[in-house]
């Protein structure tokens, strides 16, 4: 099954060397075909596990996109993915590999919740922006540390972001079971690791009654648009992308390379921290709750956001679309589990498959373009859904410093 479908892009690749059509196909159908192959792969797995793939996918689609309630759930699920994804766009464009999203989300959630606990009486129009900013600040700090170490001491950011994730989970457990805990004992076991109900004035208001759609959704979309403008319409954005493409050339051009790297990681962390704040203040429970793990709070958005950013071609605008799709897959995954008994981990496995396929196709696409440019001349550049100049993700510590 997989074989037949993966022949498609290969055919396109073969054709693309000769003409515009193949390149067109590869450009515009690369991502959908990756999705299709992954879904077929999932169907095979469901069949092997004794489930009906058609019923499964129907449940997934209905759970994700069937009706206004499902659509709004998907939008809510997409918010942290989108914000993390946008943060990933910034970091990756600067050629810094931020896999510390999980910890940055948690720190953002913590700082925003702490702010609301300290200033419970502020009016909503001050408190709400304040907690969102506090969240962004919490994530920014947690992103700035690896950024600063990377820029100034060449400490590899993969190492430091992973380690900071491990630190963040313990800090979260400590704060939620200690200084920030809800003091009213509601259990014989003593305290539950959660804050008390946070001030209602800071809650993100529901926009459409009967759904869960809250203010966090338009905020996230606006932030994504803002980051697009930042990256492509400002000189700072140019610096980020330039440093991402070549540090040495940027330094030669007089750009502050170290500061750019630190700032890119800081901004990236701020996006994740904002996601954490929205997770807290857009939550149904109106508190910050921990189950003792980062995933329990973040829902793995720190990792899934990487997938989302990639699927959006490291472009914040496309990341909006991609976050919505992947949000739907996660929401639909639960429905799939209920309908067919196939654990929703299938969706995680499929996300992974999609990532692998997309990066594989990206090479074919790149090569097709190179060949067709050689044939058709430089003017024949189609609008690419994937980044034109995605930096080579040397996750390493800057060989050209």
């Amino acid at each position: 099954m997989r074989e037949r479908v993966s022949d498609g892009p290969t055919e396109a690749m073969v054709a693309s060397g000769r003409g515009r059509w193949g390149r067109f196909l590869l450009t515009w159908f690369a991502l959908p075909s990756a999705l299709l192959v992954a879904l077929l792969f999932g169907a095979v797995m469901m069949l092997a596990l004794g489930a009906d793939p058609i019923a499964g996918y129907r449940a997934l689609l209905e759970g994700a996109f069937g009706g206004s309630y499902a659509l709004s759930s998907t939008a809510i699920q997409a918010v942290p993915l989108l914000l993390v994804g946008v943060g990933i766009c910034i970091a990756f464009r600067a050629n810094v590999f931020n896999i510390g999203g999980e910890g940055q989300i948690a720190m953002g959630g913590l700082l925003s919740a702490a702010t609301a606990l300290v200033f419970p009486d502020l009016p909503g129009f001050i408190l709400m922006p304040l907690v969102l900013l506090a969240g962004a600040l919490g994530g920014a700090i947690w992103g700035a540390i690896p950024g600063f170490f990377k820029a100034n001491y060449n400490v590899n950011e993969i190492l430091s972001t992973i380690m900071l994730n491990l630190v963040a989970v313990q800090v979260m457990n400590y704060l939620l079971a200690g200084p920030m805990v809800d003091q009213s004992p509601s259990s014989v076991g003593g305290l539950i690791p959660e804050t008390k109900v946070l001030p209602a004035s800071a809650q993100l208001p529901i926009l459409i009654s009967g759904t869960q759609l809250h203010l966090g959704v338009p905020i996230a979309v606006l932030v994504a648009i803002g980051v697009y403008i930042l990256l492509w319409r400002t000189s700072f954005g140019f610096q980020i992308r330039s440093v991402g493409l070549s540090r040495s050339a940027s330094a030669y051009a007089g750009m502050p390379v170290k500061r750019t790297i630190t700032l890119a990681m800081t901004l990236s962390g701020a996006m994740c921290g904002l996601a954490g704040a929205i997770l807290v203040f857009g939550s149904i429970s109106h508190r910050m709750v921990s189950d003792g793990s980062l995933t329990g709070f973040t829902g793995s958005a720190g990792f899934n956001g990487i997938v989302v950013a990639l699927f959006g071609g490291l472009n914040p605008l496309w990341t909006i679309v991609s976050a919505y799709l992947f949000g739907g897959m996660i929401v639909g995954g639960s429905a799939l589990q209920v309908a067919t008994g196939v654990p929703s981990d299938l969706v995680t496995a499929l996300s992974g498959t999609i990532v692998v396929l997309v990066v594989s196709l990206e090479y074919l696409r790149r090569r097709a373009r190179a060949q067709s440019l050689a044939v058709a001349g430089p003017r024949a550049a189609a609008p690419p859904p994937l980044p034109r100049n995605a930096p080579p993700l040397a996750a390493g510590g800057g060989g050209d410093q």
């Binding site: 313990q170 800090v171 079971a177 990639l310 981990d345 995680t348 992974g352 594989s360 080579p392 996750a395």
Partner: protein
């Protein structure tokens, strides 16, 4: 604190620190070899999960430990074929494809565990084997020479890897491909072939690391690794791409973890500081790197696919 410095406590602390470090070491050694040839594999954690599940499943079905460990290792090799194809042949962005492999391994191993096994059942693990003569040396014997065979294997692989990297033609080719692939290519070294081989070795080690992790706990559960594979990748940077450095990094990480647990059990660390003390391995590793590894340079083309000019 005095209770800590007794022979028994010190011996067991170090011995279990070594055992805890073994999965990190195996995975990080494999990653080192891959990175020396210029290929980053961030999918280690997912491959470890799949390796651990295969080991667990085969052991449950057959009761044969050797077969189980071989199955886990072979799963690593299989994932290596996919990783190498994507990273080397298709020249994909390695950082991202690795995340894909990780998610695939995480999801697929959880899925299979829930559908094929379900209830966590313990399996028998590798027994510790004393090395005759050495295991009776006071202090040292109990610390180092009464471990399971996988632990010996992992630490034996350190000098082997060092030797291969520094003293063999193959090792020279690996480093050449990682430093200057164009030059290596012009000398007739097949960049793709060398990288395929190092990725296969690396992923095989990752599968074995998964088996070692399973042997340590004796049971599988969803997300058994708890990101250990990512920590292993981090330890490669810590070890400055040298097998011995990687070994010290793994040992540091494992030992700090066990020392913290020991201190908690002795009451040296009060309960109130329990959570914060648990951050020690991570914090110490980052700080150590801050002071240690800055002098070392990474392989020049790390993470960059090789495209022949023209």
């Amino acid at each position: 604190m005095n209770q800590f410095f007794t022979v028994d406590v010190l011996t067991t602390t170090i011995a279990s620190g070594i055992a805890l470090a073994t999965p990190f070491l195996l995975a990080a050694l494999g990653e080192t070899i891959g990175q020396r040839s210029g290929v980053i594999n961030l999918g280690v954690d997912g491959i470890m999960l799949l390796g651990a599940f295969s080991t667990y499943y085969v052991e449950l079905q057959t009761g044969n430990l050797l077969l189980a460990i071989l199955a886990g290792t072979a799963t690593g090799t299989l994932m290596g074929v996919i990783t190498a194809f994507v990273s080397v042949t298709l020249k994909a962005e390695q950082g991202i494809s690795g995340i894909g492999v990780y998610l695939f391994g995480l999801g697929f191993s959880s899925l299979l565990f829930q559908k094929l096994v379900g209830t966590p059942l313990p399996i028998s693990t590798l027994p510790p084997v004393g090395i005759p003569g050495l295991d009776s040396i006071p202090l040292i014997g109990g610390m180092f020479f009464n471990q399971s065979l996988l632990v010996y294997l992992a630490f034996l692989l350190v000098p082997v890897a060092t030797f291969v990297l520094n003293r063999t033609t193959y090792g020279l080719k690996i480093k050449a491909v990682g430093e200057n692939p164009a030059a290596a290519d012009s000398l007739g070294v097949s960049v793709a072939l060398i990288r395929w081989s190092t990725v296969l070795i690396g992923c095989t080690f990752a599968g074995l690391a998964g088996a070692a992790l399973l042997m340590y706990g004796g049971i599988f559960q969803i997300n058994l690794t708890q990101s250990e594979g990512f920590i292993a990748v981090a330890l490669v940077y810590f070890g400055a791409w040298r097998p011995v450095g990687v070994m010290f990094g793994s040992l540091l990480y494992g030992l700090v973890g066990v020392v913290i647990l020991t201190w908690k059990s002795l009451g040296i660390i009060p309960l109130s500081a329990s959570d914060l003390a648990a951050t020690a391995p991570a914090v110490i590793t980052v700080l150590a790197l801050l002071f240690l590894a800055r002098r070392f340079r990474q392989p020049a083309v790390l993470g960059r696919p090789y495209e022949r000019e023209g």
